[in-house]
């Protein structure tokens, strides 16, 4: 549980530390006109961005707990390490590229250019990013089939069971992202202004980077144990 504890400690430290900074040196019982000028938004960021960051904290907790369970279970004696299919390297490359293209699309959405040029870039960027993500997910499925073919079934060993579960949970999160991607893509292709989808694209880009990071951690864990 050390992994989870360290991560949670970091998250709680950030949350509580920030809250303490807001609350130390205050005397709320004294009505102050300066406080009245202060409005009620604590962090200057759109609500959706804030909610996404909070959601990523939840997902971090989820994966940290899976990793903790992995770390505890692997010491049980019956653990036989799985030799991961090499295809995973190719899949990882797809996900890295998807993340890079999403970043490029995010920047394209923010730049002040002619609307037509911007729309064309967004269409291209979103299509390629989506395609690369589907390639990653398809590749993961093939990796499952390959692993299965070598006799590493879900039930044959906890190491292979964890392999299937971790990749599935990660893939499901990407599928959730693809749902939002599909919505913004269909809006871009139906002629929506770039500004109306900008936030959605920005948040998706952050989400893709985050899931790339999670995959890097999971892949590293699977390779080294």
């Amino acid at each position: 549980m050390t992994v989870s504890l360290i991560l949670l400690a970091v998250i709680m430290f950030v949350v509580i530390g920030w809250l303490l900074r807001q609350t130390l040196n205050t005397q709320p019982w004294i009505p102050r006109s300066t406080d009245n000028a202060v409005s009620g938004t604590s962090i200057d960021t759109p609500a959706k961005t804030f909610a996404l960051v909070s959601f990523l904290a939840v997902v971090t907790s989820l994966f940290a707990l899976f990793i903790s369970a992995y770390a505890m279970r692997m010491h049980m004696g019956d653990w036989r390490p799985v030799s991961e299919p090499r295809l995973l390297w190719v899949n990882s490359a797809f996900l890295v590229l998807a993340s890079v293209v999403y970043e490029w699309t995010r920047r394209a959405a923010g730049k002040g250019q002619a609307a037509r040029l911007k729309a064309a870039r967004l269409k291209r960027g979103l299509t390629i990013a989506g395609l690369l993500t589907f390639l990653f997910l398809g590749g993961q499925l093939i990796a499952w089939v390959q692993l299965n073919a070598t006799g590493h079934y879900l039930t044959s060993n906890p190491a292979s069971a964890f392999f299937y579960v971790l990749t599935a949970v990660h893939g499901l999160h990407l599928l959730g992202g693809l749902w939002v991607w599909a919505r913004s893509t269909s809006r871009v292709f139906s002629g929506a202004e770039a500004d109306t989808v900008r936030v959605s694209i920005e948040l998706c880009a952050v989400y893709w980077h985050y899931l790339l990071l999670v995959w890097a951690v999971l892949f590293g864990l699977l390779l080294t144990t």
Partner: protein
Amino acid sequence: MAYVAIADRDHEIEHHDPQTFITKYVWSQDHKVIAIQYGLTAIFVGVIALCLSVMMRLQLGFPDNFSFINPESYYQFVTMHGMIMVIYLLTALFLGGFGNYLIPLMVGSRDMVFPYMNMLSYWVYLVSVIILLTSFFVPGGSTGAGWTLYPPQAISRGTPGVDWGIILMLVSLAVFIVAFTMGGLNYVTTILQARCRGMTLMRLPLSVWGIFMATVLGLLAFPALLVSAIMMLLDKTLMTSFFMPAVVSAGVQTGHESGSPILFQHLFWFFGHPEVYIVALPAFGIVSDLLSTHARKNIFGYRMMVWAILAIGGLSFIVWAHHMYVSGMNPYFGFFFATTTLIIAVPTALKVYNWVLTLWQGNIHLRVPMLFAIAFIFTFIHGGLTGIFLGNVVVDLPLSDTYFVVAHFHMVMGVSPILVVFGAIYHWFPKITGRMYNETLGRWHFWLTFLGTYSIYLPMHYLGFLGVPRRYFAMGSTDFMPESAQTLNASITISAIFVALTQLIFFYNMITSIRSGKKADPNPWHATTLEWQTADTPPKHGNWGHELPEVHRWAYDYSVPGYPEDYIPQNVPAELAPVGRDHGVKH
């Protein structure tokens, strides 16, 4: 600090005016309607859980007198009672119910930041409840694994509901967690990002602080339950061995090997202990506001109360293994968790002192909400003290499997939060319904419930010291238990039935008051917080009419010296009430 007025960002708020009956009362995105939907559903399942507890008590008080209670059904009652009460009633009611109703009103917002997701949260919660209740009717019935669902017994032959009940339970929990996450992200974002002008964090009422921290805990802790539910589902359905060791069941070797049941316990309690505070922190917050309002006095040590909530939230993640002292852990490990458990008692005790000191020299109005709030202090101190006993390894080991533990956790996280729930319902009933409840019936409800619960749980401590084991369907004949223990058990059962029936007074009072209660004043308790300052009672869609309120002071300006009335609402401008806590007080 870089603050931007939410009022200046009105375009960020989704507008969702209800158009039809369906969008107003069924698929509603209004936080108040969603709160009531959450509340009613939670209370509905809570009543089912109450009935289950009566059935358990019938068996324990009068063994083998009832043909419809056998060992299997007894364990199903125990399991479903526990799980429903902790998750589907208390968590849902405090956060989905009170959280939804109070957050936007108390922080001066028109609604939650993401109303659509808020609506979805309720409907997904309802799906989880339906899945859970379905398990009563599947072959084999609901699971009888105990609310902790420990493997290997939870998914081994011989445990009731091993075919379908356990699967439905795990799926229901997973669905509940999805619902909670959608709601929780809304609560956190609304509190931090959608407060009205002037509502600084340190002007928030403690109810909001409690709900806020409980939500943060829930968001970070529920994933542990999700992880354990997913892995146990796989162990059950696809025969993996995450938790399941090699087991010979009914003479047959199961297909599992070398799984770790202790791993499940760690994951479960990593969720399970913060869960205690997910239920307790909103109760702490709400009771602070009830005490302050009805004692006409500012809450004692507001900042300390806030910091105590933060400290409890942080510490609640490092005490989980005190639920596992009997699992055979390393003594150093136990020592660590005993220490953290005792440390968490410090901010908790600080809160108790501050509640008592809030009452000190207050102008106490013993209305029904106040009676429940003061009763909470009694039951919480009681349950908290026995918690300090059980937090120590050497005391816990002999008491762990006895009725002492049942008494402890029912006092601290059963009776105490439920008393706050009742207090809060009575307190906000006039705002929610626009009607007053019947005060006399409310008092009867209070005294019978309060004294009744004591007559249930106080004797249980004694049974625990005698060594009467918990979780048993029948005690059998043993030397160490005197016959009087059974007499006590019968008395507890009679009290339990009495308390359960007493709740009919509450429901009768609520239903008749909604239909024909006296019309409520917009602010019958002369409270300072924003929800009492709305233009309409009950508040209409959008809460505030054209203008959002503007806050000029904290939530506890009661009996301020030099001001003609004994309360100054938060939205009264400083010019109109130029007095504050620093005036009239010698420095």
